[in-house]
């Protein structure tokens, strides 16, 4: 049973052989630099995404008394 150290060496030997082979073939083997995985958070604005609000009134739906967004079906700021 091969111990870990020997496995590691074997692995390195294999890599060296591969790199040697590649060099012989004229290729340059480059490893990508290691980047630690990280979670990126992307913000979602649900009230915008569902077309539920009005930009002018800042409320949900055309409930404001402003001229641009007063009552039924007159919301022209359209949640921009």
């Amino acid at each position: 049973m091969t111990n870990n150290k020997e496995l590691s060496i074997t692995t390195n030997e294999r890599m060296e052989n591969k790199m040697s082979t590649c060099r012989k073939q004229g290729e340059r083997v480059q490893k990508k630099p290691y980047l630690k995985p990280e979670v990126k958070r992307v913000e979602l604005k649900p009230e915008e995404a569902v077309l539920g609000n009005c930009k002018v009134s800042g409320t949900h739906g055309p409930a404001s008394t402003t001229t641009d967004c007063s009552t039924a079906g007159t919301c022209y700021s359209q949640g921009s």
């Binding site: 995404a49 077309l51 949900h60 055309p62 007063s70 009552t71 039924a72 919301c75 949640g79 921009s80």
Partner: protein
């Protein structure tokens, strides 16, 4: 390029023909419309007011308006002679002549005080809710200023190829010209049509450069879309498709960006389209720079700025896949920008960075 030239460059055929045919009559009244046979106006209840946008065209009768947005054609008509359909200047740019519609919508007056709804599928938390009723979708629109009875409901079949809009007459004035697909119904309709494997609507500003390529500036509210649109507005050779809403569709492997009538504060809207060249996620900055972002991040940012039917699993699956197609088709960057004309020079003159 002036706004008028911009509109002419992006204009679709048909609306002039419709005007010449006599089917449309320019409105002689301003907002509020003619009072006409206003039996509803004698009630003391709350009233719906007409929009503050200028009414450009209005008509009544069975001949439909044909509205084309991102190559999707909507036929809007009413058999009710008491219902006058009107469109404003933004919608007018998207009118076309008689065409084979993707969806046909009938508008009418009604009494919605006893309307029955089926199972609630979705509540926007705002003005509209979605129900499922007898193999149809029912959108219900309410306003706290008017009361619990909805001011409008809209039925559509599952494919969104036909529908009916019913307006609660007591809330309106008989003869008042109105646009039955008033926000957010027209957008909801288009969003659901697009989700059936047709495309995607995004929160973005879009422009066509002098080479005919499309640049998409994506961002949620306050990201700078309208600011960006205004910077491009009078640049020679540029068409601003919209300062707020852009539709993307794919045709023969090419992703196209389309203007829409749903503008932002700059009120810029054009029915033109262009092949997508690059996606730029807006970021306020102290200098103009493009920073490449990975495809996974680009998809996530793209979907967060998209208008998708969250209540429709198939539609969501398609939309997510479509975002993937978009970021594969064109490079994505985070665009830090300075809100002055320097960003225009940067975008046009520095495409490699």
């Amino acid at each position: 390029m002036s706004d008028e030239n911009q509109r002419m460059r992006g204009k679709r055929s048909g609306s002039n023909a419709a005007l010449r045919s006599g089917s449309f009559a320019p409105s002689r009244t301003g907002p509020g419309g003619p009072q006409g046979n206003s039996r509803a106006s004698s009630d003391s209840g709350p009233r719906a007011t007409c929009s503050s946008n200028e009414v450009i065209l209005e008509r009544s009768g069975p001949d439909p308006f044909f509205l084309r947005i991102a190559d999707l054609t909507i036929a809007l008509l009413s058999d009710d002679s008491d219902l006058k359909i009107s469109v404003d200047s933004n919608i007018k740019r998207f009118l076309v002549g008689q065409a084979d519609p993707d969806v046909r919508i009938q508008a009418k007056w009604g009494d919605l005080s006893k309307e029955k709804v089926g199972e609630k599928i979705f509540d926007s938390g705002g003005v509209w809710q979605l129900y499922s009723q007898n193999q149809t979708y029912l959108f219900r629109f309410t306003s706290p200023a008017l009361g619990s009875v909805p001011y409008k409901i809209a039925f559509f079949n599952r494919e969104f190829t036909s529908g009916e809009v019913c307006l609660h007459l007591p809330y309106f004035t008989m003869g008042q010209p109105l646009y039955p697909l008033e926000y957010p119904l027209d957008e909801l309709l288009i969003i659901n049509l697009l989700a059936s494997e047709k495309g995607l609507e995004v929160h973005a500003c879009g422009i066509i450069d002098p080479s005919g390529n499309g640049h998409l500036f994506v961002g949620q509210s306050d990201a700078g879309k309208t600011t960006m649109a205004r910077l491009w507005q009078n640049v020679p050779g540029i068409i601003v498709l919209s300062d707020d809403r852009i539709i993307l569709r794919q045709n023969d492997g090419v992703v196209w960006i389309y203007g829409t009538p749903w503008h932002g504060e700059a009120k810029l809207a054009s029915p033109a389209r262009a092949p997508l060249k690059e996606v730029l996620f807006l970021q306020h900055g102290s200098r103009n720079e493009r920073v490449s972002i990975g495809k996974a991040e680009a998809v996530a940012r793209f979907i967060s700025c998209s208008f998708v039917p969250f209540y429709n699993p198939d539609g969501m699956e398609f939309s997510l896949g479509f975002c993937d197609e978009v970021v594969k088709s064109a490079p994505s960057y985070e665009l830090g920008f300075v809100p002055d004309k320097s960003v225009v020079e940067f975008i046009l003159g520095n495409k490699e960075r």
